[in-house]
């Protein structure tokens, strides 16, 4: 861009003394590796997880020069790094960044990408790619990762020119964070690390097809809710989902619920966003939710979904769920409205904005008869008690009691990263989350092995908060290698393993619905205490409640990571349970509810004789 002579003269005339201005006119060229690191730093990235490999070595050669901006952590498996970036994003609300080299490094990230997509977590996944001319020749460590990740990302880029780097990084972060958050995948070919291009601190984005809030609704639409709430015999209930946490609408939700005296039921990912001691709290919804909530949902005839997506885990049998029920749906992603349930009043938009407007536009309501009924259920079934969890075998510990003990000792203020399985359901119901952005769990994908790396990422994101990881032994072993990362950086995560030598949730289903045929759900574990100590992480084993309490208190005092393994009952079943194809109101509250009806379709003798 050539400046004309008159412009040059004009500039010097205005500011003759400021010589610094003149040097900014010289275009600054940097190599692709430097441009990339600088682009990440400009986006405010503070932590990234990655494993170096052949095609990203030139980038790694430059990363340490940006150490004052970006701290790089080396995990032991790319999946661990990906889950850690996901955990980091959930606690801080910032974009999590994970990197893998080409080929196997990229394919190892796939589970983490799918997990971020299902739970709408803002993340950017970076992978290296072979030299541009070698793409398509089945080169060493080459895979078509953009093709693989297409169905599970919000958007993806294949970058072949260094001049595109700044713009692509800026667009990727913008897409990841705004609207309904999600993972964005950037694939960079090896040539660009050496190419030189001009540095742009604020490049112009080019996204004509993207608007974060795709559809809007008017205040008149919101006012229609008044008509629905004033109908005779209406029994409303709020389904609060992950959208409330992503939007930061906790205060607005409380105001909305109080204004209309409506019970608030929470999905698994929304726990911690509505105070559980509140009189309007109606429990956790779903397949393993609270008994009160499932009965209330079954009976309700007006369901107001706020930032949720009516997943099959919370609807139970769809026909019964929809029958005689009116739905209102406040949701930022218009493609989710009307996807599962027919919506009488769709309200697209950002949940925080919608609730703020609703609180101004709508009039107050009360539902004394409805609350009479709900209070009766609350009295009978309660929350946070063990009416549905009798202790079968005193030889073992009971998982919900341990989790409640942990909740009391930590005062419900810790960040808890659960893995997947029975303990995940019990953590949701018995750990009394007091703060938002504290419940980390793989909800949509349900990926085992999530807990430990996510806790690692969470602690790095919020070093001042206490972070616990509650894992089953199966899930813990899936990413056990991350103990090395925790040991190396002395990340003070407290690990609680529920050791029952079984894939617990699978075992429960096999016990109840498959006549006790425990097919491949029994595990052989290492000595977790010795394993942990071999990494230099102090560990305890608890056989009794006294030992458990002592171990938890000791672990909290340790200045660094610590591990406790609790010897728990393998046959303790999670109740309530809503089996597949069953209405929420028909939930099972004990073993005998399930063992009677669900008989096997055919007898074994028939099979041996060749009948089907």
């Amino acid at each position: 861009m050539l400046k004309t002579k008159s412009q040059k003269v004009k500039k010097e005339a205005i500011k003759p003394h400021n010589r610094a201005n003149i040097t900014h006119n010289i275009p600054k060229t940097l190599t692709g590796a430097d441009l990339f690191c600088q682009a990440l730093a400009d986006q405010g990235v503070e932590i990234m997880f990655g494993i170096p490999g052949g095609v990203v070595l030139p980038l790694y050669d430059r990363i340490n020069k940006y150490g004052h901006h970006i701290r790089h952590i080396l995990p032991s498996h790319e999946q661990g790094g990906g889950f850690a970036a996901d955990g980091y994003a959930r606690v801080t609300g910032e974009v999590g960044v994970a990197l893998g080299t080409s080929g196997p490094g990229a394919t190892n990230l796939m589970t983490a990408i799918a997990n971020s997509m299902m739970d709408s977590v803002p993340t950017v996944y970076i992978t290296g790619q072979v030299v541009e001319n070698f793409i398509g020749t089945d080169a060493f460590q080459e895979t078509d990762v953009i093709g693989m990740s297409m169905p599970i990302v919000k958007h993806s880029y294949l970058v072949t020119q260094a001049r595109d780097i700044s713009r692509v990084v800026k667009e990727a972060f913008y897409i990841a964070k705004t609207g309904r958050p999600g993972p964005v995948h950037i694939d960079l070919v090896k040539d660009i690390w050496f190419q030189e291009a001009k540095y742009k601190s604020d490049p112009k984005m080019d996204l004509p097809g993207y608007s974060p809030i795709a559809e809007h609704c008017s205040d008149r639409d919101i006012a229609k809710l008044d008509i629905l709430l004033e109908k005779k015999g209406v029994k409303p209930i709020i389904f609060a989902g992950h959208g409330v946490e992503l939007s930061g609408a906790q205060a607005e939700l409380v105001e909305f619920a109080e204004k209309h005296n409506i019970p608030v039921a929470s999905t698994l990912l929304n726990l911690g966003n509505f105070p559980q001691g509140h009189e309007l709290w109606a429990g956790m919804i779903g397949m393993h939710g609270d008994a009160v909530t499932n009965y209330a949902t079954h009976d309700a005839n007006l369901i107001i979904g706020i930032g949720c997506r009516f997943d099959d885990r919370i609807t139970g049998k769809l026909e019964t769920f929809i029958k005689d029920t009116t739905f209102v749906h406040m949701e930022i992603d218009p493609s989710e409205i009307g996807k599962i349930v027919p919506t009488e009043l769709p309200l697209p938009g950002d949940v925080k904005d919608l609730l703020t407007r609703a609180n101004k536009v709508l009039s107050n309501h009360t539902f004394p008869d409805w609350w009479d009924q709900i209070n009766k259920w609350k009295k009978k079934y309660g929350f946070l008690d063990f009416k549905l969890n009798p202790e079968n075998d005193k030889k073992f510990l009971s998982q919900p009691r341990i989790i409640q003990m942990l909740s009391e000792i930590t005062n419900g203020e810790a960040i808890v990263a659960a893995d997947v399985g029975r303990h995940q359901m019990w953590t949701g119901r018995f750990y009394r989350f007091k703060n938002p952005n504290s419940n980390l769990t793989s909800g949509g994908l349900g990926s085992m092995g999530y807990g430990l790396p996510a806790a690692m990422g969470a602690k790095l994101g919020k070093p001042d908060r206490e972070v616990w990881n509650i894992s089953g032994d199966g899930g813990f072993m899936m990413n056990v290698q991350e103990l090395a990362t925790i040991a190396e950086h002395k990340i003070p995560v407290k690990i609680a393993i529920m050791e029952d030598k079984a894939l617990g949730m699978v075992r429960q289903w096999q016990n109840l619905l498959f006549k006790g045929n425990l097919s491949h759900s029994v595990l052989t574990n290492p000595d977790f205490v010795k394993l942990s100590e071999s990494f230099g992480i102090p560990a305890w084993r608890a056989h009794s409640y006294k030992e458990a309490e002592k171990a938890i208190k000791e672990a909290r005092k340790v200045d660094g990571p610590a591990l406790i393994t609790f010897m728990v009952d393998p046959d303790e079943h999670v109740y309530p349970m809503v089996p597949p194809n069953t209405a929420l109101g028909d939930q099972a509250l004990k073993d005998s509810d399930l063992l009677q009806d669900k008989a096997h379709k055919y007898d074994e003798e028939d099979l041996l004789q060749g009948h089907t």
Binding site: H155, P208, G209, Y210, A214, S335, G338
Partner: protein
């Protein structure tokens, strides 16, 4: 043989490599057959293209599929009608 419904779909998309793959991946997920397809740039600058498709499916309502396709980043606009 169950009744097949045909939908005429027009999408305005960015004219770039991989955009058609993104869209067909999204449609394939719902097990919908693309009976016919035409894609061409709409103007001289060739920044945007129009995709004209006829979808063949047994589903009576493809609103969700179209909304999910419209939410893709390279798709600028989407229109559809039953044939």
């Amino acid at each position: 043989m169950t009744k097949k419904t045909y939908y005429k779909v027009t999408l305005r998309v960015r004219n770039e490599a991989g955009v058609l793959a993104r869209i067909t991946t999204r449609i394939r997920k719902f097990q919908v057959n693309i009976r016919s397809l035409d894609v061409a740039p709409i103007d001289e600058k060739e920044k945007f293209s129009d995709i004209h498709m006829v979808l063949e499916t047994e589903k009576s309502d493809i609103t969700t599929i179209m909304k999910k396709t419209e939410s893709l980043i390279p798709v600028v606009e989407a229109f559809y009608e039953k044939q």
